[in-house]
Each structure stands twice: as C-alpha cells, then as structure tokens.
C-alpha cells in the first residue's frame, strides 16, 4: 500500500516540478511561437544567479527573485537585439536561440567556472505521510508551481492584459488593427517567459548540484511537456503534459532503471508527437 502511495506522491511532485521547469517555455512557445532552445540556459542562469546571491549573503526568497529578474533582463536583451526581427521565421529563431544557449553557457563557464556549486536548501527536512518521507522543500516547490500556474491563469483569463494576449494569439492582424501594440506585447510575453524560466531555475537550484549544463536535463523534457500538452494550452496543457512525461517516468522507473525510464519516456513522447502533433488536448 505504501508503495502505491509513494508512487502517487512521487508522480505528483515530479509533475509539478516539471511543470514549473516547462512553464517559461510554454509561455514563449505557446504565445509567441518561438522555439526557445535557450530555455535550458535560462534555467541554468537562474540557478547560478541564485547561487551568487545567496553566497553574497542575501536571503533565499530575495535571491530567487533577483535571479529571475536577472534572467528576464537577459531575455529582454535577447529579444530586443535578435529575436524581434525573426518572429515570422520559427526555424531561424530555433537556431538563434540555440546560438544564445552556446554563448551564454560559455559566458557562465567563464564567469562562474565549471565546478559544481551548491545552493543551501532553505527548507531542509521532510515530513511523514502515512509512513513515507516527503522532502519538505520539494513539496514547497510543487506548491509554488501550482501557485504560479494558477496566478497566470488569473492574469490570463481575468485581466485586461490577459484579454490582449489572448486576442494576440487568436488573430494577430486583427488585434493590431484594433490598436494593440503587437511588438510590445511580444516583448512582454518573451520577457515574462524568461522570468519564469529564471524563477524555475532558481527554485530548482537547491535540489541539484549546479553545473553549467544543469538546464539541459530539463530542455528536451520541457519541450515534450509543451508539445504533448498542446501548444497554447498554457495552463491545463502544461499540467497534463508534465503529468504524462513525469508520471510515466515514475512508472517506468518502477520496472527499470532511472536512465532507461527516461529513454522510454522520450520514445513514448515521440510517438505521441507523431500521432497528436497538436497535443493530447486537441483532436486531430
């Protein structure tokens, strides 16, 4: 019985953490159609900035927001200098954001070095749930993930800004004819996505050793989350995609090694992508 419970708990935590990691990507890809291959680098950068801020003596909560803001600024620069001229050429943005990944990874290596860095866990310990130990910090991150997604849902569906963004996705020309400053909205969305990626990297940093390629662990999985959940299904899609990717990885890991479980999940994801290129939520 306790195995079943621990699987459920594991799957839930992994789902929510993966949703957190993928959320910035879902925003940028889902709303402005940029396949941000630099997403992994943004996660890494968020983690390193958190390390730098906490090492400088700042409290953890302030550090993560500083880190996220730092990544948002870099996202703004990237958008303003390069990406904004390429919104109608998705393939070029894919390669250009990959170039951003290459450059920023090297800059990270030059600035921070290649040694493993550790961010102290701000909420150590675990609590007991019916005989199984659940790490407190992971639970908190999962809660943050839910809060972020719910908060974004509020903005998306209940504010004037949300209406503008939805108008933009539905019909860009019409929205612009009705007086919406399209390029400013694009910039806002891109920067918000970068902020979310930075925040995710910051929140994840205490769970792993921080190295220059830490974001890569999440890059491909995040993409599969977004594609399988359905591009543009920002909230439900991200959660369902994370559940399918993270949950099935937990299940596979029951029967095989962790490494093989990842391989199996990728294979399943490719098959889903082939038959449901618009995600599991939309038919056809």
């Amino acid at each position: 019985m306790s195995t079943a419970l621990s699987v459920v708990v594991d799957a839930t935590l992994i789902t929510l953490i993966l949703a957190l990691a993928a959320f910035g990507l879902a925003i940028i890809y889902g709303l402005v159609g940029v396949i941000n291959m630099g997403h992994g680098a943004m996660l890494t950068l968020g983690a390193y900035l958190t390390w730098a801020a906490t090492t400088a003596g700042l409290p953890f909560v302030i550090s993560i927001f500083l880190a996220a803001a730092g990544v948002a600024v870099i996202g703004l620069l990237l958008e303003h200098i390069v990406i904004r001229s390429f919104y109608d050429r998705p393939f070029d943005t894919l390669l250009l954001t990959w170039g951003f990944f290459l450059v920023s990874t090297e800059v990270i290596k030059i600035v921070f070095g290649t040694d493993l860095r550790n961010v102290a866990n701000p909420v150590p310990g675990a609590f007991d749930l019916g005989g199984i130990q659940i790490p407190a910090y992971r639970t908190m991150i999962a809660g943050c993930s839910l809060l972020l997604i719910a908060g974004s849902a509020l903005v998306f569906f209940y504010t004037a800004l949300g209406i503008k963004i939805r108008a933009l996705i539905q019909n860009r020309e019409m929205a612009s004819l009705l007086g919406l400053d399209v390029s400013r909205m694009y910039k806002l969305v891109f920067v918000t996505g970068s902020f979310m990626a930075g925040l995710a990297g910051a929140l994840i940093s205490p769970m792993l050793s921080v190295d220059p390629y830490i974001g890569n662990i999440f890059l491909v999985r995040s993409f599969f989350v977004v594609i399988i959940g359905g591009i543009g299904h920002l909230l439900g899609g991200t959660l369902i995609g994370s559940f399918l990717i993270g949950g099935s990885e937990t299940l596979f890991a029951l029967f095989s090694g962790q490494v093989f479980a990842q391989t199996a999940v990728f294979a399943v994801a490719i098959v889903v992508l082939r038959f449901r290129p618009h995600g599991v939520l939309r038919s056809g």
Binding site: P90, F91, L94, L96, W98, F260, I270, L273
Partner: protein
C-alpha cells in the same frame, strides 16, 4: 516559412578555368593536398587528421540534409556513436565468414540507414514540421547516449568500449596491418574522398534537385505530384548511413568509444561546423568540420572557454549575416572577381 536561397556553386563548367573555380575543382586540390601531407609530416598530426576528416564526413552528412533539403538534425552524433559501437561489437564478435572490420563497416551503413529511414518515415509521413524534427533528433541523440550508458553489459556503460584497430584484409593476398598512422591515413582519406564524390553526385542528380525544391517550397513540390515525405526520408537515410559509417571508421581509428560521443554537445557541435563551413557547399562543410575540430583541439589546450565562446558568436553571426557560411562568402568573392 521563408528561407533565402543559398548562393549556388557553379556546376561543372566547359573550360579548364571553369573547372578550377568550381567546387569539384577545389575539392580536387583539397584532396591532393591531404594526400601529400604524410609525405612532409609525421607524428601526431598524421595520427589525428583522419579523425578530423571523419568529423568532416559527419559534417557532410548534416550538410546534405541542411543545405540541400532544408532539414536540420541535432542527432548526427547519435548516428556517429552508433557506428562506432557497431564497429566495436562487430570486431569483438570476430565477424564469422567475413572479416569483422568489413562486417562492422557494412553493418554501420545498414544500421544507420535503417534507423534514420524508420525515424524519418515515421515523422515525415505524418507531416511533422522541421522544427519538431530538430527536437526529435535531439531526443534521439540523448536516447542513444542513455542506452549506451544503461546497457553497460554490452556497451561498457560510462567506461566506454575499446575497439581494435582494423586491418585491411585482402583475402587471398593476405592482410595489411593498419596499426601505423600512415597506412590508416591512406585508408581513411580515400574513403572520405569517395563519400564526398557520392554525396556531391547526389546533389547534382534529379534527386538532389528535388530536395532543393522541397527546401525552397515543399507545398509546391507536393502539388506537382512529388512525394515529399519519401524524398525527405531518403535523404535522412543517406545522411544517417554516412554518419554511422564515419563513426565506425572513427571508432576503429580512435580505438575507443564512450557514450558522450552520442551526446547533445557533440551533436550540436556538428551543427556549428556546418553553419560556419557553409551549408550550401559540401566541400565547405567538410573543411568546416576538419578545420574547426582541429582548432578546437588546438585551442582548447590554451583557452577552452573563450574559443567555445567565439564559436558560439560566430554561429550566431553566420545565422544573422552570412547564411552561406565561409564557403558561401568565398563563392561570392570568386564569382564577383570572375564576373569582371
């Protein structure tokens, strides 16, 4: 999807002068220089150069895909490593009725071609877009790396696998040992040249022209009655087979393969070589692979981070300003001078 046309190299001309300034002419000079190098040099350079030439072949496998069919694969290193593992396993098996090295080379062509054809057909027949193709090939590369890690009883896991140096089996005429650097060099160089000639021929045949058409306007080709997904599958199969074959030769030359050879980092390094070399020209791509890999090896001893940073910036600059890469720039220069 808008995509600017790449500057086309002039095809075989009519006068000797034209030949000299065409890509085959330049290729002839390059291969002649490569053939003469062991006469003047020896030691580490002659040992390592065949590996870089095989990286160049790996780059050509992507150059064919990207420059001529407009498809970018982030998984070429996966095929390369697959070839090396195939070679290693074949050498271990002893080969049976045919020479184990030949079996390995043959199998690598078959395995790489079939895997690429299967993945390609699976995706292209459903009309999966070019951007998703990039992601799937990236995932493929990670999966191959993970399989190499997790199936350690076959592959040696993280520790990698040692591969014997092949020898040239001439049947009734005996065996030539390729243990020394120079003989191995003169086995790999012709192989590289032959692959270049085959790939170049592909690009100028009807098949290559149709690929160009698909790159420029896939919908139009489909409405003209071409089965675009079949052509894309075909070119990916060729690309996979070539990458895998190059990997098999690499494995037996380097005597070693480890999972990281399939990894994302190496895969995308190939993309950088091709972009900088010039994806419109197979020769440019070949040289891009050879030269960038040599520089990387040389400079990573001195200033690894800054060199990689320069490569990253060059990659972005090529994407933004010089879509034809170095080869495209050279072709433009030559054409401009000859037009005068």
């Amino acid at each position: 999807m808008k995509q600017r046309t790449l500057k086309h190299r002039s095809l075989l001309g009519t006068t000797p002068g034209d030949l000299l300034f065409s890509e085959p002419g330049a290729a002839l000079i390059v291969f002649a220089i490569l053939a003469l190098l062991p006469v003047f040099f020896s030691g580490y350079m002659i040992y390592i150069l065949p590996q870089y030439m095989l990286f160049g072949v790996l780059a050509m496998s992507l150059g064919l895909l990207w420059g001529f069919a407009g498809l970018v694969s982030f998984g070429q290193a996966g095929f390369f490593a697959l070839g090396a593992y195939t070679m290693g396993l074949s050498m271990k098996s002893g080969g049976g009725i045919i020479d184990p090295a030949y079996l390995g080379l043959l199998l690598s062509l078959v395995v790489g071609g079939i895997l690429a054809a299967a993945v390609g057909y699976f995706l292209f027949s459903a009309g999966v877009r070019g951007t998703y193709f990039v992601l799937v090939t990236l995932a493929l590369s990670i999966m191959l790396e993970q399989i190499a890690v997790s199936q350690s009883q076959i592959t040696g896991g993280w520790n990698g696998m040692f591969i014997d140096r092949m020898s040239l089996n001439l049947g009734p005429f005996g065996k030539i040992s390729l243990f020394d650097d120079a003989p191995m060099y003169y086995v790999i160089l012709p192989a590289v040249a032959i692959i270049y000639v085959i790939l170049y021929t592909i690009t100028v045949t009807r098949f290559g022209k149709i690929l160009n058409g698909i790159r420029e306007n896939e919908d139009r080709l489909i409405s003209l009655g071409f089965n675009a997904s079949l052509y894309k599958t075909g070119v990916f199969a060729i690309s996979g087979a070539v990458a895998c074959f190059a990997g098999a030769l690499y494995g037996t030359h380097a005597n070693f393969v480890a999972p990281s050879l399939a990894g994302v980092l190496f895969s995308t390094e190939v993309v950088v070589w091709v972009a900088i070399g010039g994806r419109g020209s197979l020769l440019g791509v070949l040289l891009g692979g050879i030269l960038v890999a040599s520089f990387s090896n040389y400079l990573s001893a001195i200033t690894p981070e800054y060199w990689q940073l320069v490569l990253g910036l060059l990659f972005v600059a090529v994407l933004l300003y010089f879509r034809g890469g170095v080869a495209g720039a050279v072709a433009q220069l030559v054409n401009a001078r000859r037009a005068k």
